[in-house]
């Protein structure tokens, strides 16, 4: 007997961020018994930190705007390993999803005509033949993520979604057929462990930026969904692709939105030179994030960095004037004053590329169904498991995500998952119940931790892991150095599995959660490391010093990491959009 309580739902969403709550909203509206398990109160999720906006061709700033231009930008931004059917779906459905948010009450900034305000963001053009900078990112000042997350929570409240707030999902429960039939979860307040049974389990657990020492990500971004999937034996896709955001505040890591550059801000080196003019003559500071981040690192390496250590550059905003800054970028002014002790109205903000976003994740189709690949190389749907948002890899971001596309990704595919599950539930989902031993298997890790003794400190191990990732798998990567990093990780695995949990108490035991999170961080880090070493080319955010060119012959494909034998495989990229012509790979310049 597993001896734990079972709670049953039609659909269970793990994660209360934007993607999870959008999926939950869809399901709750359909009347199916829906629950959200969130390790924090939903409005504390990391979506809240998104600033600049949600990119979408709603034709407000430009009445002739076309979602196909947005699609082209996204395909190009992905360095051609974004799936074109998925990108087509996201860009074409996007306007509907954004208008829904507005109808729900999201307080978008407005134009004089009363429409949603759109600002320019990086990598935006007016189609393949017209590199003119577009303004396509819908914004609520520089607090779009906050406004979006709160609106979605409010929408769920209106539709009576059941929330398990401050509950933490530890592992997947699979039945004898290998189908996902729910998760094991702990209630933080009481320490009770339960089996949450579900016909559809949606992972919307967000990213894992905390694998790096310097990150814009919240403390809670520990890759829990990836960790659970890998432990259950499911593969992850393009996990080596990590976006380093050009403008994290030096020292603190907090994000400064790309919208700053969209509003007219630009980067300068120690000589006061606007150096992006050299690297991207056309788009300049609004080139793809990978391009800008690399240019900044090159400036720093070549001795043109700012500050006494020469280890950052400056983001100049003061020329925009106090009025624009206070009305369009009030949150940035606040953050900069708090964390950089610099008032953007008067002085530039010290910034440095900082880990920001995980492009890879659990491979899914456009319905959010999680996939694996069988021995013949065919996609196989994992019954019962869905993923959306940052944890998923649909893939719309490929090797490099465009700014403003993450919020669109999470509402479009959160919604799509909900829609699909709704129809699947209506058609009837038959799955074998989990046996006691299936449930026990899901509880094994937690049980081992609860019975452990001795071991090293979680905080120390986490720091070691983060430093290893920061040093060996950063903006520029090198085979030899990565192999060294992988060795360090090999050494860390056993130590992390046996990390100490001195405090075995039940009530709100955050030490237990941090230990469990560390396991997940490690799974993500190891998958990243092994896959990054295997992809011997440079593409998008993955820049190798020893393989500086893009290799379309061998690597115009997704990487797949299989946890069982730690093998890296390949999966074809989709080049078959349904309503438009394929965008063929070209040399990517801005």
């Amino acid at each position: 007997m597993s001896g734990i309580r079972t709670i049953s739902f039609d659909g269970v969403i793990v994660g209360g961020g934007g993607a999870g709550m959008r999926a939950a909203l869809q399901l709750a509206q359909s009347g199916y018994k829906t629950a959200v398990i969130s390790k924090v109160f939903p409005t504390r999720s990391h979506t809240v930190s998104a600033q600049g906006g949600i990119t979408c061709a709603i034709a407000s700033a430009d009445p002739n705007d076309d979602w196909r231009w947005h699609m082209y930008d996204t395909v190009k931004g992905s360095d051609y390993i974004g799936d074109q059917d998925a990108i087509e779906y996201m860009c074409s459905v996007g306007p509907e999803a954004v208008f829904e948010l507005e109808h729900m009450g999201l307080p978008f900034s407005r134009t004089e005509e009363g429409r949603i305000y759109q600002r320019p963001f990086g990598g935006q053009s007016k189609g393949p033949d017209n590199p003119t900078q577009a303004a396509r990112t819908c914004a609520a000042a520089d607090r779009t993520g906050h406004a979006l997350l709160h609106t979605l929570y409010q929408g769920n409240m209106k539709n009576n979604t059941v929330f398990f707030n401050e509950w933490y999902a530890t592992d997947i429960v699979k039945n004898q057929d290998g189908a996902v039939v729910g998760v094991i979860a702990i209630c933080l307040e009481t320490g009770e462990t339960v089996y949450v049974k579900s016909k559809a389990t949606v992972f919307a657990t967000g990213g894992a930026g905390r694998i790096y020492a310097s990150t814009t990500n919240a403390h809670i971004n520990t890759g829990d969904g990836i960790g659970m999937a890998l432990r259950a034996g499911f593969p992850v896709q393009d996990i080596e692709m990590w976006q380093f955001h050009p403008t994290g505040i030096h020292g603190a890591g907090t994000l400064v939105t790309e919208g700053c550059r969209g509003e007219g801000g630009y980067l300068i080196n120690k000589d006061g030179e606007r150096f992006m003019e050299r690297y991207a003559p056309n788009a300049k500071d609004l080139a793809g994030r990978d391009v800008v981040a690399r240019s900044m690192v090159l400036e720093i390496i070549e001795g043109r960095g700012c500050g006494p250590e020469g280890d950052h550059v400056y983001l100049k905003l003061d020329h925009l004037g106090e009025e624009v800054l206070e009305s369009r970028l009030p949150g940035i002014c606040e953050l900069s004053r708090t964390f950089a002790h610099a008032d953007p109205v008067k002085e530039p903000i010290p910034v440095v590329p900082t880990c920001h976003y995980m492009m890879g994740g659990i491979p899914t189709n456009v319905h959010g169904q999680a996939l694996t690949v069988d021995a013949d190389g065919n996609d196989q749907i994992i019954p019962g498991l869905y993923a959306c948002g940052e944890v998923a890899c649909v893939s719309v971001h490929g090797a490099n995500r465009l700014g403003g596309n993450s919020l669109l990704d999470l509402v479009v595919f959160g919604r799509a998952s909900g829609l699909y599950i709704e129809s699947a539930l209506r058609d009837g989902i038959e799955m074998r119940d989990a046996s006691d031993s299936d449930i026990e298997q899901g509880m094994a890790r937690l049980q081992k931790l609860n019975e452990s003794s001795g071991g090293e400190s979680v905080a120390d191990l986490r720091k070691e892991l983060q430093n290893t990732m920061q040093n060996h798998f950063g903006v520029f990567r090198n085979g030899e150095f990565m192999r060294e990093g992988i060795k360090k990780l090999d050494d860390l695995r056993g130590r992390i599995e046996n990390a100490s949990l001195a405090d075995k108490s039940m009530a709100f035991n955050t030490a237990r959660i941090e230990a469990l999170e560390l396991h997940n961080l490690f799974e993500v880090a190891e998958a990243t490391a092994i896959t990054a070493e295997a992809r011997d080319e440079s593409r998008g955010a993955h820049a190798r010093e020893d393989f500086q060119e893009r290799d379309d012959e061998n690597w115009l494909c997704h990487s797949m990491y299989y946890p069982g034998d730690k093998r890296v495989g390949k999966r074809a990229v989709n080049f078959e959009p349904k309503t438009v012509d394929t965008f063929q790979p070209k040399v990517r310049t801005y």
């Binding site: 924090v40 930190s49 507005e102 407005r110 906050h146 406004a147 403390h219 708090t338 120390d460 009530a507």
Partner: protein, 234 residues
């Protein structure tokens, strides 16, 4: 060495709460209070507190620091510490679950009571509902609330009647929807607020304004609600 005194209570082992002292080496830097808590957590993993974004937008780490409510992640030591001593307690007025973690269900219940979602009974257009920049500007200073509870737990009226007085945070959100040109439920919303407790327990003490980490002004919003009630009823 900074002297930090932390409120400790574990319901499984403690019959009553106590204060525990820690010595923290800040390296002479003006850290944020949250950084200090993280350092303490490496000394003693049993210390419980909430945190998430560490940049003042998620509202997890509302705490009482040297007697004043605020967010630990954006409160620098230079602001909070007096005489090299820092006393950290949970937000006042709510039941303590463990250490610095309070049970916020009463706070959330008041938020839910104001039906904090847009209500509009006209059919939605194919695009967005139009709103002039002037009408949108009325939501500034309201929608930015992060539900950290610093204000409500600094409010004596909320301490005494957390089950009947909506509190500054909930009322700020109530006004956020009353002020939204797209919302059509103004009258129903106001009708629900016209009792002696929901709004009128506000005595204008302004602790909420004083502690709000986002610089918002709930007292002013409450004044607007009162004026709306007044013009509706007289």
């Amino acid at each position: 060495m900074l002297q930090v005194s932390i409120y400790r209570y574990n319901p499984e082992t403690d019959s009553e709460p106590s204060m525990q002292d820690f010595q923290v080496d800040t390296g002479g830097k003006d850290l944020m209070v949250l950084d200090v808590l993280e350092l303490i957590k490496t000394q003693d993993t049993t210390v419980g507190y909430r945190r998430s974004c560490r940049e003042g937008v998620c509202g997890s780490d509302g705490l009482n620091m040297n007697g004043k409510n605020g967010l630990a992640c954006i409160t620098p030591l230079s602001e909070a510490v007096k005489d090299n001593k820092l006393v950290i307690r949970p937000l006042p007025g709510l039941p303590v679950i463990r250490d610095l973690v309070v049970d916020m269900s009463m706070f959330y219940a008041q938020y839910e009571k104001v039906q904090p979602y847009l209500q509009n009974d006209t059919p939605a257009p194919a695009i967005e509902r139009l709103q002039s920049p002037e009408d949108r500007e009325k939501l500034d200073g309201l929608y930015e609330c992060i539900l950290c509870a610093c204000c409500s737990t600094a409010c004596p009226s909320f301490w005494w009647n957390p089950d009947r007085f909506i509190g500054p945070s909930g009322l700020l959100q109530a006004y956020r929807f009353l002020a939204d040109s797209r919302d059509t439920a103004t009258d129903e919303r106001l009708a629900k607020l016209d009792d002696p407790f929901s709004v009128f327990r506000c005595h204008g003490i302004q602790n909420c304004v004083n502690v709000c980490p986002k610089g918002l002004n709930p007292t002013r919003a409450i004044g607007h609600i009162r004026n709306m009630l007044l013009s509706r009823a007289t």
